[in-house]
Symmetry: D2
Subunit: 311 residues, 4 copies
């Protein structure tokens, strides 16, 4: 089933599990996928920015995508295919789709500046991977240094039919969601799915602005599922209560550099990963950070039992 | 009393109050200064990044600095003097010091790249304003796009005696504080004050890492004072409880663009400012954002009575 | 006489002459202005990027503008007013115009990214300085890191009537001139003057593409005048012969960093300036560079007698 | 024979020849290699920035490297392996070396900022490709936005033994060569080869500053060979005469964007390539540019017979 503009819910950004020697930990991949399915996720994104994709050989990337697709039989899988050139992007996109991926995700190269350059890039990318491959537009200026105005997203959506979803992580970004939904209401842009990234830092308000869900890798994807569900049910106060309980840790994890180490560390403590290792070059977690995260987990456990982790 | 490396506590970044017609609201300046003094602040910084300094004529800037100095008789006042050229920087620094400022703050121009360029810039700036003017090094890569490695800060501190304080707002930044304090312990860098900015987003951990306090403009500076005091008293859990209660609003205010509007809006609601206006070009607060901030205040009020504001 | 869209010919970017002690060398200003007038320049631009404007106090900047205006009675004078804030920009623009300037020049701050941000900036700037002040849009991505697509220039020109001239120094830029002139021909953009900067590196072809002249600071402005005149007279081969003879030196002078030192050094050797000093912080000319420039001048002198300079 | 720090002469950056349908034109590869050998080149660099490397699939890149190695039996071949991740870089480097390449070339990712980040990156890259693979450090801030101070190059050279050559294309860059050679003289840095890129724009002076030759793709590599040889023979005036004759065209070709189209167009006219096509996304050469290049070739032909090309 190809990805469509009706996607909604939570698509966690899956980390890539490694052992200490750098080999891929396939058992943890399976465990992670099972967990995502069991806690209410509606899809999975692999090989994203924090999936350590650039550290993988092409064949490894294809294998991981294929494994997740097989394991997550019921869920659509999106594969990150961002690359400096269209040849590598096309190769990975085609092979991932052949193995059952539902769509791909494309981030802009950080050299793009003008509106026309950005629109042109996505047109060329869509042509390169093939018009039959649905793709997610990743809008993350903080990391990619590319600022995409709402009107530019509209141009891309209108010009490129295979663009079906926005991974929204502009910052600030609340007004951007409102503006895009306004475009849909006034008929100037067709509907696309908007799932929010940026670590989930504004998920509490993004749903009310019109987002369809979350597309980020926070170490408690089950919380993201709950918040999205509570918002959908109109239980706004409960959604905020739960979100606010997690915010101190979520904010800590959202830091660039150390964030992935925090995510993997908590996932190990939760029993989801066997090992917190990153493939080289790794950004390690200093001992002081580990203690701070333990402290945050302890405090979180008072409000969310899922954070009660054995030592 | 000139600023020294022993500065500590909370130096709020003061907004510049305007009326709707763009004129400066001096009564609000006085009220704000009185409030800062009454709630435990140990200094005040004016004309910073969010003080709308570039929208002020030179004479206006000098007047504001002078007014705050007079009103805040007991507190040291730091004046932001960042400028594209050393002539303007020198002029404002000298005039502010003549009117009683305790020191100045200098951000790096966003064209600096290599370590040597950064060190060279601060040497030249210190020479331009005069060796007798103590200054604060503002380290805010998210806004200024200049990445200053800890070793570069050490070079500046060691080479430029008039550098007495770091406005620490690198992101991520916790390890940076630890590294700098390590330099002091191993004798490779003299002591400087480290006060934390970045909206206060990590203040809960920064104090334990060795920071001396906060130097940021969050709309509840009284909370910042409490957290710094609680941390100093070793009441860690209470500090985190209070901080966490504010974190949803603090995170909302820390957004670029809309942040200053949020800050001024809340300060009006708190009775500190008469008017939330920004001088042109202003980044307005959309109605939806206002409702979100009201919601956050209401929720905050359940935990901190200071947020119980008449509508 | 205010600057209009009919400007043409050569508007040299005047350096600011200093003595070794950093004081302004007014006699050299006068000599320079006289020379510009005598060799066929049709206007003068002061306080541009290479006029060391950020090193001048406000009053000094106004004095220099006023002095050049008085001396260059017959020629329109454009004053660079780029500033980080509209208050300073407005102040300098108004004072310069009161003293007889024909218009001002505004470069974009290097934080602008999207098309809308760029258009918005120029609208606000025009409003700040006043709709009665004609201005030059400086388009120099290599230095300012702002990429302005031709369609964005068209939006600015159409939305802001006081924009009358483009200082064209995009790189590459030949197609941009053709595109803009195409907009004029197809009626989608009103006519503006296009004068070329970027050190003059492509002036030989820019004229044929539709440029109206040069607006740059090369140390032989008399050559620029000749090339523009020869192009206007259809003497294309002669224009290229003269230009090519200067190209080795012109290319050398166009280097960032050392370029201004080269320019001032040659102008001293030509008797136009008394002193090659830059105000601090200065980028000095290494001895090896001096010898290379002397070599280039010697070789140039074989083809252009104006380069035969006493040693 | 692995590349060593004694490399010198001219290593042209080879374009990748394509047919109009995007397939690789192997006959033109052979013809090009034969020409490079016949005109005095001492090595060849393939898959560089202007070799359209990102548009090639991995297997294609390996094939091209292998073909050039076989054909250029007498000459060392350097293979560009720059990649966003070390996995892809390592894979291409190992396969190229197995097929007989003499070394590889690595450009820095444009996210690097501080000195330590740059040094760290090259250490990790050298470790990733293996200590036995000699590599060229590509220093091109204009394109890669990474500014590498001379002291940083020294740190890399001293810390990473497999760094044997600098592709020098900083701008301005003459003083950098002098500084690096000074490091060698004062014993603080071991000797490395310095070959100059940046289109050759300053080759006339770079040789006298201590460069060992050229490493750039100008469409007349035979001219580059002559200039390097004349400089080596102390025939300075002849070297400059020849260089200056080419400078108008060389400057035109050095423009970003249109430069590769110009290069391929002239190489077709010279009979070196069958087709000027670029693989998509291509930067085409407008008709006006073609006429300008024809004009430059005609003028050049008056001074260098090699530019007398049949229409």
């Amino acid at each position: 089933m190809p990805l469509t503009a009706d996607a909604r819910g939570v698509y966690p950004i899956a980390p890539t599990p490694f052992f200490d020697d750098g080999t891929i930990d396939t058992a943890s991949i399976d465990r992670l996928v099972d967990f995502y399915q069991s806690c209410g996720c509606t899809g999975i994104t692999v090989l994203g920015q924090l999936g350590e994709a650039p550290k993988l050989e092409h064949a490894e990337a294809v294998d991981i995508a294929a494994r997740v697709v097989r394991r997550a039989s019921a869920l659509p899988v999106i594969v990150g295919v961002s690359a400096p050139g269209f040849a590598a992007m096309r190769a990975l996109a085609r092979e991932a789709m052949e193995r059952g991926a539902a769509g791909v995700m494309i981030a802009p190269p950080n050299t793009l500046r003008t509106d026309d350059q950005i629109v042109g890039y996505y047109k060329q990318a869509a042509e390169a991977i093939g018009a039959d491959v649905p793709f997610v537009l990743q809008d993350y200026p903080l990391t990619f240094s590319v600022q995409i105005a709402p009107g530019v997203i509209r141009r891309i959506v209108n010009d490129v039919p295979s663009c079906v979803m926005l991974k929204h992580e502009d910052w600030p970004g609340l007004e951007k969601i409102s503006t895009l939904r306004g475009y849909e209401r006034d008929g100037s842009m067709r509907h696309i799915a908007i799932l929010c990234g940026n670590g989930g830092l504004f998920l509490d308000f993004e749903m009310a602005r019109g987002a369809d869900g979350a597309n980020t890798g926070y170490c408690f994807p089950d919380m993201l599922c709950d918040v999205v569900r509570l918002c959908g049910d109109g239980r706004r106060d409960e959604a905020h209560d739960l979100f606010d309980a997690h915010l101190p840790l979520l904010r800590y994890e959202q830091q660039p550099g150390v964030g992935l180490a925090v995510r993997k560390y908590v996932m190990v403590r939760r029993g989801l990963l066997s090992c917190a290792a990153q493939r080289s070059p790794a950004a390690p977690m200093p001992e002081r950070a580990r203690l701070e995260v333990d402290w945050l987990l302890e405090r979180l456990a008072r409000k969310d039992a899922r954070a009660r982790l054995g030592g």
